[in-house]
């Protein structure tokens, strides 16, 4: 089963690159939803079946695959925008950076003192690559929605690492973390809505009234 898990992790990394290359927000949201669903399937592939596991799978797929994409999609719809325009660094450059980061994360993961049973799996490089991709999106894109997507990708990267510890994490903590993420995205959606009403745009580079004179 772990071979299949590795294939899915490769898919996660490919989705990272896809997101770096596209300007269409709806497409990015779908991509992040697919990533969320894969994250939900993965724990079932590397751990023996249990009620705890089924709960996690259902929770992650529901939150990351359905509810959160719906919330962001809603915000996009209300703000009536489709594309990211003029990111601070262009698409091709970020795509190349993303590829370099992915390669580096493989090299880095080799050096980490992993437990022997995790040595041959792709979880750690995939986690680091996804985390860095999230950072890249977060820092290079102008639109508030793209930044939320970047935050989500980053969170996905952290989750991939967390999958190594699925058995150890108490349900309450996992559920709480998911719920916090959900409410956080919900609030961000509302804030985006207000930004678009206040500034007639969700371009965060217009948010610059507050600074030191």
């Amino acid at each position: 089963m772990s071979a299949f898990a590795d294939q899915l992790l490769v898919l996660v990394m490919l989705i990272n690159l896809v997101m770096l290359g596209t300007s269409r927000l709806v497409f990015s949201i779908r991509a992040v939803a697919v990533q969320g669903v894969i994250l939900g399937i993965l724990p079932g592939l590397i751990n023996p079946f249990s009620g705890h596991l089924a709960g996690i799978t259902a929770g992650i797929i529901l939150a990351k695959g359905i509810v959160i994409p719906y919330l962001i999609g809603n915000a996009v719809h209300k703000a009536q925008i489709r594309r990211e325009v003029e990111p601070f660094i262009g698409y091709v450059s970020t795509l190349l950076l993303g590829a370099v980061f992915t390669a580096l994360s493989f090299a880095f993961a080799e050096k980490l003192p992993l437990a022997p049973e995790h040595k041959d799996l792709l979880f750690v490089p995939a986690s680091i690559a996804t985390l860095l991709t999230g950072f890249l999106i977060l820092t290079t894109r102008r639109k508030a929605i793209s930044q939320v997507i970047g935050y989500l990708v980053m969170e996905n990267g952290i989750f991939v690492f967390g999958l190594l510890l699925t058995e150890a994490m108490p349900v309450m903590v996992e559920a709480g973390a998911l719920l916090d993420l959900l409410v956080g995205i919900f609030v961000m959606g509302i804030v985006i809505n207000h930004i678009s009403r206040e500034f007639s745009s969700i371009d965060t580079s217009r948010l610059r009234a507050l600074k030191e004179e």
Partner: protein, 478 residues
Amino acid sequence: MLFALVLLPLIGALFAWVVPDNRLRPLTLPVVATIHLVLTALLVGNAPPPSPGGWIWLDPLGKVVLLCISLLFAVCAFYAVGYLAYRQKRSNRILCMGLLVCLSAMGLVTITQHLGLLWVALETTTVSMAPLIYFNQNARSIEATWKYLLICSVGIALALLGLLFLAYSTYVAHRDATLLLGPLMASARELNAGWFHAAAIFLLVGYGSKMGLAPLHTWKPDAYGEAPGLVGALLAGGLVNCAFLSILRVYQICLASGTEIHFFQQTLVGMGLVSMAFAAVFMAHQSDFKRMLAYSSVEHVGILAIGLGLGKGGLYGALFHLLNNGLTKGVLFLSSGNIHRSYSNKTTDVVKGALTRLPWSGGLFLAGFIAITGSPPFSPFISEYTIVSSAFIEGRHLVGWLFLLFLVIVFIGMALTVLPMVMGAPPTDTEPTDYEDRLLTVGPPFFMMAVILVLGIWPPGFLVTLLKDGAVMLGAQP
């Protein structure tokens, strides 16, 4: 009984949601806050033993933070009734609910011994405060809310990664991953050093950005500047202390490991000094007095970090300062909120002669300024003195001298903003507003100022014992 600390505010939040009347709804706050304060007093006096699983236990460190939060919230709750009477045009449902949910989450932060649960509670405080910063619903406050939400969310996500690293270090060491404080401390010496080191860094960065340690403080001036005074008070006195408690938990594990603690302490001292330096630079020529308070908060989280990083005698000072800083910031933010309402402006270009126009609020602001800059006889003087003297006792002369230097610069910078604000003649050409000092907007900060004075002159015996117990948990000599 401990669960009541979490459940009671949640019930209050539900109640606030149901009450339709905008005038009656804020009354939920003082009712919940008073019961919460009584509960806190009972629990601090006689804490129940740890829960069977070891998840829930109100230890001395939690007690100190709980005491500060509960007292500060009670004062803010009474103030809120008076404040919201002036803001009747705007629905206060979200504000009341957010405050109560945040109180519940802050309570959970103080009583839990499970780092995962602590993280969940801390993230809840972040999210529940976001709509409150946006209470004024204008372009500036939305910008502040966005920055706060994004930076704190990313910061706290990094802390989650740190927690996972910590759990993984236990997994590599003995195949049994845990995030419970007790077992973590017991097995701290066997943890995988590499993962543990990475965990400590990520946790410090994550919780540090939530606490506002420089250079991760960039959201702070914006959020504190645009939030209503009482929200600013809870951010600076409540959330900061919750984040500090999270850092204390990491500190406990580092201490138990024996090796990691040196690095952790050095980093804390370094970040603390950088915070104080940033505050000293940006405090000068600060015309917006709420932003000035934000930089003062950056300075004081720096002081907390230095106290913790010095260890030994500094620990008592840091824990005492946690309480003093929280309460004094409460006085400053509440009275500055009054001044802001009265002038409907928060820059020193317009706000002049507050002492003449608003003798009570202006006087409290001035007293708060004197206290926060570390002048006797107020309690921040004692805690700051304890920290700086411990620096010299430990032979850390450079740290001690820099600490004093930054304190002086901050004092001058802050005085240059505060003194013109409160002294002199009030402007004659400004639009008069309907705000005037009343019992409910002046009484609560006045009470808190009195508490600070009492703590400075005659700190009660039980508090001294509590702070000493807390310091011992962090490795001070008993």
